[in-house]
Symmetry: C2
Subunit: 195 residues, 2 copies
Amino acid sequence: METQRRPGGRSARVRDAVRQATLVEVTQRGYQGLTVENVAKRSGVHKTSIYRRWGSPEGLVADALELAAAEPIPIPDTGSLDGDLRAITEAVRAGFASPHGGAIGCAFILAGMQNPAAAAALQNFTAARRKQSVVVVERAVARGEVSESIDAEELIRFALAPIYYRIFVTHEPVTAADAVKAADAALTAARAGIL
Amino acid sequence: METQRRPGGRSARVRDAVRQATLVEVTQRGYQGLTVENVAKRSGVHKTSIYRRWGSPEGLVADALELAAAEPIPIPDTGSLDGDLRAITEAVRAGFASPHGGAIGCAFILAGMQNPAAAAALQNFTAARRKQSVVVVERAVARGEVSESIDAEELIRFALAPIYYRIFVTHEPVTAADAVKAADAALTAARAGIL
């Protein structure tokens, strides 16, 4: 009980409540509908406290991304780098295809395009996810499957890029076959020494 | 003189004036700052006419994209597919790096994420640009440089995707070397039969 009453504990609980409320609001109303007032109502945290600590909707989004970046994500271990990369691209494709994941993902990308603090948070978030994902390349190097000269982070970037491109730029559907192709193309380029 | 007074001629001039005003407004204020009032002021076209014909800022953006899609773009002809693809990715990189092109490009991408009509217009616009670009692949097939089984449009998509990914998702800088790598990776995957 004592520990729960420390300022740090309360502060962490407040932060988590505000973050959860931010995610729900962003999912339901989109980034443009995100207001400090609504996050205050949903979280039960007073709005003057939110303004003081987070400043704005952009600050709320940046903080939600910072917390998300620290979370461990499931990393596939299929036994081959081909399989692992395909699992990673498929997870991203399926995430954006789901109503919940799609809404949150779009809100974060929109926020990053509209606000420098959100852009910096998104840069950190994607870097953190990439650093978690490169273990699939490290394992493949250890198995002797690929050369250790491969730029593992670049391989992950190139595997994911075509999926985001279709969703946010060309507005074309992304099928499971597209996710496979994105993974295979990146790995082929990496094996050829381009990445 | 007679032809200029036809409704069609006047209508085309009005459309062009409104489109130019839309592009300037979007460049200066961003998509979120785009209003029918400001486009009316800048174009000299009455705002009730704009509301009647374009409906909203989204309609203005969609129409500007439709006109842009019809414009011919310079297609490189370096003598090799490697060189042509690198020129295409470098042109996109440099376009987004310029203040004017960057602002317009970002405004279009933002609009596409916020409005279904703008998304459809962006889908048509990117398809039109892709169809103009595939001539570099057709020439390479004619030269015997690559197999005719290559999916030319997919090759263009994959060459461009990593550039957009860095700009709009990871918010990382895009260097000339990144543009070269994106072109080379896509072509390597295409030559290997992945695309």
